[in-house]
């Protein structure tokens, strides 16, 4: 939505006054000397600040030599993020934290039943650590922001290119594709992810689920993520998927899922298509094609042969329809078979 929210509360004069507020207010004093001193003291930044390369180059060489002789731990433990207490008495690496603190690579944030904390994910987002949770900072690099959720629940909100923020769980790894989600798991990997913005990929044991906005996926230890399903998916479909994914429901569970699925549930059927035994793949494809006709260039034969390009094209259509359906909810009646307004 690009339009501005119409202001029906303020009078025109008040609106004009707001519009004329100065956008620049000079600080009451020159803050540069203080900033300069701080960046010189704790120079973790981009360059040498006031130090010359003649100082840093030999130091870097010496550091490289140290690394080369095998101080791997030092390499692994570099990097840190800030963490803020939002309720109760969370702990960082076993110690009670104050209002705010630093979370270093390898350290844990732990919350009891009445504690909460928020971790700043570098500069790309933040993670709310819900009560009763244990989270470790695994890696803090520009290209790899990685947490491990041992148990409990987190709410992650990240604004960054895909695949630079990861959360490891006992049942698999959640890969951010530009999104917001809530993830909960117990210590053995029984968990649930609910995506409330963008997309998430959940991967484990060679199994991959793409969970879009408005969808859930369950996880189980040793099995990884289940087939994702929509918030409003029929109970019969959810039960059938759980049976298929985690309770060896087999062909009977697939048949129940196909019978319960609506056009809106195409994302679940697409995931089933790549997971069922080859003998049932035709049934899944036929049901999916009846609910959401495949786009041009996708053939039954190609889909049954698991042609990656065709599956991707089909997924792209399903994803676009679902996105339109959700963002236009309450505004337009969108046909879940085509994504067009009815």
């Amino acid at each position: 939505m690009n339009e501005r929210e119409p202001d029906t509360e303020l009078t025109p004069e008040q609106q004009r006054a707001v519009g004329e507020l100065p956008r620049r207010i000079e600080p009451p004093e020159d803050l540069w000397p203080g900033i300069r001193d701080r960046i010189r003291q704790g120079n973790r930044g981009v360059g040498s600040g006031g130090w010359s390369w003649r100082f840093w180059v030999p130091l870097a060489i010496a550091a490289s030599l140290l690394l080369a002789v095998g101080v791997r731990l030092a390499w692994v433990r570099t990097g840190s993020w800030s963490v803020e207490r939002t309720a109760g008495a969370p702990r960082v690496d076993g110690a009670l934290m104050g209002t705010s603190g630093t979370l270093r690579v390898g350290e844990w944030v732990e919350t009891d039943d009445s504690s909460q904390a928020v971790i700043a994910v570098g500069t790309i987002g933040h993670v709310d650590v819900r009560p009763g949770s244990r989270v470790r900072l695994v890696r803090a690099r520009d290209t790899d922001h990685r947490l491990a959720l041992a148990y409990g629940a987190i709410h992650a909100k990240v604004d960054a290119p895909p695949r630079i923020f990861f959360v490891e769980t006992p049942a698999g790894t959640v890969i951010d594709l530009g999104c917001e989600y809530t993830l909960e798991t117990d210590s053995v990997g029984r968990g649930l992810i609910h995506v409330t913005g963008g997309y998430v990929e959940f991967a484990a044991n060679g199994v991959r689920s793409i969970v879009p906005l408005g969808a859930y996926a369950m996880t189980r230890p040793g099995r990884g993520p289940g087939v994702p399903y929509l918030e409003d998916a029929p109970a019969a479909l959810r039960a059938a998927l759980e049976s298929f994914d985690f309770n060896q429901g087999g062909a009977a569970a697939v048949r129940q899922a196909l019978a319960a699925a609506r056009a809106e549930d195409a994302l679940s059927l697409w995931h089933l298509l790549v997971r069922v035994e080859s003998a049932q793949r035709g049934d899944v494809y036929d049901r999916l094609a009846a609910l959401v006709p495949p786009p041009a260039g996708v053939t039954r034969e190609g889909a049954l042969a698991q042609d990656p390009a065709m599956l991707e094209r089909y997924w792209s259509l399903i994803r676009r329809i679902e996105f339109r359906r959700i963002i236009l909810k309450g505004i337009r009646d969108v046909d879940p078979r085509t994504g067009l307004a009815r």
């Binding site: 207010i25 000079e26 960046i39 600040g49 209002t99």
Partner: protein
């Protein structure tokens, strides 16, 4: 101030320190400014403190205004501005030029102030507008300064969440989706807080 650098504004109102560049005469003013800022950012990324100082001088006013209005506390705003620029220096290596430097800096500032506010809800008084209305008058049109000061006072007295969304939406021009992305609140929450802020503001101004 770095010698030869002057501050101008681009088409989005962002102040850019602009060093005259004879080789850039064929470029539009905005392109010239962008080229100058790119140069300063590159130099700062390589560790040149003077270039970073120029970036600070150019942007301090807008960052201070943001910190002041979001925190509602003049002393806190001064600390936050320093934190923002120290964080900026630390993160400058990750700036890839995919957006204007000013936009990137501002997002960093919003994120930092928002995080700080969440951990600092205990403060009791917001003193800026009352403490030093002169600071605002110096920045604005003399004929509207009194109105501005009243308005700043009223904005400063809004509840935290409502004030934050009002500042970002109505003063800084962000959309609800952008606010949601930067702060982690839901779009619906942002809309509700804006509605609440405007209603409270009108009540305060009409008292």
């Amino acid at each position: 101030m770095v010698e030869g650098v002057e501050v101008v504004e681009d088409d989005e109102g962002w102040p850019f320190p602009c060093k005259p560049d004879p080789g850039a005469r064929h470029l539009t003013p905005v392109a010239t400014i962008a080229r100058a800022i790119d140069d300063l950012v590159r130099r700062a990324q390589s560790g040149e403190e003077a270039a970073f100082e120029a970036l600070y001088r150019a942007h301090a006013g807008r960052v201070f205004a943001l910190c002041l209005r979001l925190s509602g506390d003049r002393t806190r705003a001064v600390e936050l501005v320093q934190d923002v620029f120290v964080r900026c220096w630390e993160r400058l290596g990750s700036f890839r030029g995919e957006s204007a430097f000013g936009s990137w800096l501002y997002r960093l500032a919003v994120n930092l102030v928002w995080m700080a506010n969440r951990g600092d809800r205990r403060r009791e008084a917001r003193v800026l507008p009352v403490e030093d209305p002169q600071a605002l008058e110096r920045s604005g049109d003399a004929t509207t300064a009194g109105v501005s000061v009243d308005l700043e006072r009223a904005i400063g007295s809004l509840p935290d969440g409502a004030r934050e969304v009002f500042v970002l939406y109505d003063i800084e021009g962000y959309r609800h989706e952008e606010i949601a992305r930067m702060t982690g609140i839901a779009v619906g929450t942002s809309k509700a807080q804006l509605f609440r802020a405007r209603r409270l503001l009108r009540e305060k101004l009409e008292r």
